[in-house]
């Protein structure tokens, strides 16, 4: 594992040794299309994994593999210990006051659906029914939009949303109007995966709480990039996903205030989430197991534990500062390309490290494909946020997104690639 050292890195924040960080990520050595070094600018889709995470997972399978809980044999005790230690690590990473409020899910999407489904089945005041309102934003990833659409359709509740300004910020001017005593939940993304916007979720939560609504923050794009402190964020529920934060696929987290998680009913039924079972009925386990039905993603949770330990070792403030600098550099360099328009905030203020753009007369598919031939991996499409594209009258965008291992040299490769795209398509 790498500690951010004092030696100068390649661009980025002073004192952050990005080359040392890169050495921890073996996939970054990949060549594509024969001899092109990979320039991986798709971290908002998923991050690469540091060796420490792969080793933690492998060590589990090679030495400690067993099912967790209830075993008295050595491997079962070890596996349980490693799994629960991973929960402790995640609790520390987000500064959760209570480790039992960290629930492992398979991804953010399941975490958010867990809340949407249990609010359908809950007792008041958390039950969502006809006449209730659900407030989201136009900036949501489909995973924080479709579950609420479905909840509204299934219960007769009304879905409302905050719009987006031309500069890619949430339009808060109608917030007071949209928050009513009927609002049961406000679901809002912390950092947009398409626009890069960092939203003022603490302020939104404060106002939502005034009308008695619950607040869920989708931290899928903040947990990997910024220090995240659930004890001061203001949210009642926070969802994030391992694969975007150096962990394996197949693992996510729902954190919630104890009171809320205790009041909501169980979601999936099965092994591990019960207290006692007869043929007629069951009683349910205490948190966090109440929401962890079935064999959990054990190795994946252990991998997430190793990932947050790794990230903490590098330092979340240092990562945030480094990514901020790379993003600022990229925004500046992209602004100089003729016919290129940034979709989202064009300055690095309150902004994460995903940068979407369109090029006059050139379809994002062609941009992405030609960049790939140059070794530059970006994502094209609607980035699971189609309403954002519609808002800006676009079918799709090209998105470059950065991570703790991204260098300004890679941004230069992107810019050179885009110049070549312009040459080809004129």
């Amino acid at each position: 594992m790498t500690q951010a050292s004092a030696s100068p890195g390649t661009g980025g924040a002073p004192g952050y040794d990005v080359e040392a960080v890169r050495k921890d990520f073996p996939a970054l050595d990949r060549l594509v299309h024969g001899d092109r070094p990979l320039v991986y600018l798709d971290s908002a889709a998923t991050s690469q994994k540091p060796r420490a995470v792969l080793e933690a997972v492998e060590d589990f399978y090679l030495r400690h593999n067993a099912n967790v809980h209830r075993g008295v044999h050595t491997l079962a005790e070890e596996a349980t210990g490693l799994y629960e230690q991973a929960r402790d690590s995640v609790a520390r990473f987000i500064n959760a006051p209570d480790r039992d409020t960290v629930v492992f899910t398979k991804n953010s999407t399941e975490a958010i659906n867990l809340v949407a489904f249990t609010m359908m089945l809950a007792d008041p005041p958390y039950r969502v029914g006809p006449g209730d309102e659900i407030l989201v934003t136009e900036m949501e990833h489909h995973s924080n939009l479709v579950p609420w659409q479905l909840l509204a359709q299934r219960t007769g509740a009304r879905l409302r949303w905050l719009g987006i300004t031309d500069s890619g910020r949430l339009d808060l001017s109608r917030l007071d109007e949209l928050l009513t005593p009927a609002t049961t939940i406000v679901a809002v993304v912390h950092v947009s995966n398409i626009l890069g916007t960092i939203n003022p979720v603490t302020e939104i939560a404060r106002r939502a709480h005034e009308v008695g609504a619950l607040v869920l923050v989708d931290a899928s794009q903040s947990a990997p990039h910024l220090p995240l402190d659930v004890s001061t964020l203001g949210a009642d529920l926070v969802a994030f996903t391992g694969h975007k934060m150096c962990a394996p696929t197949g693992i996510g987290v729902l954190w919630g205030r104890r009171e809320v998680l205790e009041a909501l009913p169980p979601f999936l039924g099965g092994g591990e989430m019960i207290d006692t079972v007869t043929m007629e009925s069951a009683t349910y386990a205490a948190l966090p197991h109440k929401y962890e039905a079935g064999t959990p993603p054990i190795a994946e949770a252990i991998g997430l534990g190793a990932a947050v330990t790794y990230l903490t070792g590098v330092g979340m403030p240092a990562i945030a500062a480094h990514e901020h600098q790379v993003t600022a550099y990229a925004l500046g360099a992209l602004a100089e390309l003729p016919g290129l328009r940034i979709i989202g905030p064009s300055t690095p203020v309150d902004r994460g490290s995903a940068v979407s753009f369109v090029m006059d007369g050139i379809h994002p598919h062609d941009v992405g494909q030609l960049l790939d031939f140059a070794g530059v991996a970006v994502r094209v499409g609607h980035h699971c946020a189609r309403p954002v594209c519609s808002r800006f009258g676009l079918p799709s965008t090209t998105r470059a997104s950065f991570g703790l291992y991204t260098t300004t040299g890679e941004v230069d490769a992107l810019v050179a690639g885009l110049r070549r795209v312009r040459e080809v398509f004129g």
Binding site: H33, P364, Q369, F373, V380, H382, L394, V424
Partner: protein, 158 residues
């Protein structure tokens, strides 16, 4: 594979100066197809002439949004369809489809596909295959719809 092999000059030419583009009347059938994952769309109109086995494609006109591959593919298709019989048009569609799903392992039928052969490289990029097929699927759909609404023995288009 290199950029040049995928983006052959012939594709870029069709993309820059598409043939038969623009919506024209009269027409027998209009269909609208989209590719939801990338937002591409096409509106395609077909005008037929003659009846039965003799039915000939008199005109194909279209408008839409999409990447160079989908735009060039539709332009090349229109060239191949206009003047062909419906049966020939369906055959070339089948051949092109086969090529696209061949993962780059299928040798194209150069005689039948003409310029469409330039799209052979797309077959190696599964994510782009649906771009190349957008116009062709619209064509096939149009035929199915129009033959469904016209007697198989075929009165000439009014």
């Amino acid at each position: 594979m290199s950029a040049d092999a995928l983006y052959q000059e012939i594709i870029l030419d069709h993309y820059r100066r598409p043939h038969h583009k623009g919506l024209r009347a009269p027409y027998d059938i209009e269909v609208h197809h989209t590719n939801p994952t990338c937002g591409d769309e096409i509106t395609l109109r077909v005008r037929l002439r003659g009846s039965g086995d003799e039915t000939v494609v008199e005109d194909v006109s279209y408008d839409g949004d999409g990447c160079s591959i989908s735009q060039a593919s539709t332009s090349i298709m229109a060239d191949l369809l206009v003047g062909a019989t419906v049966a020939e048009g369906l055959e070339v569609e089948a051949e092109f489809h086969r090529l696209m799903l061949g993962l780059g392992q299928v040798a194209p039928d150069v005689d039948r596909l003409a310029d469409a052969v330039a799209l052979a490289g797309v077959a190696r990029y599964p994510a782009r295959v649906k771009c190349a097929l957008l116009g062709w699927l619209a064509w096939k759909d149009a035929v199915v719809q129009v033959l469904g609404t016209r007697p198989a023995t075929g009165e000439p288009t009014p």
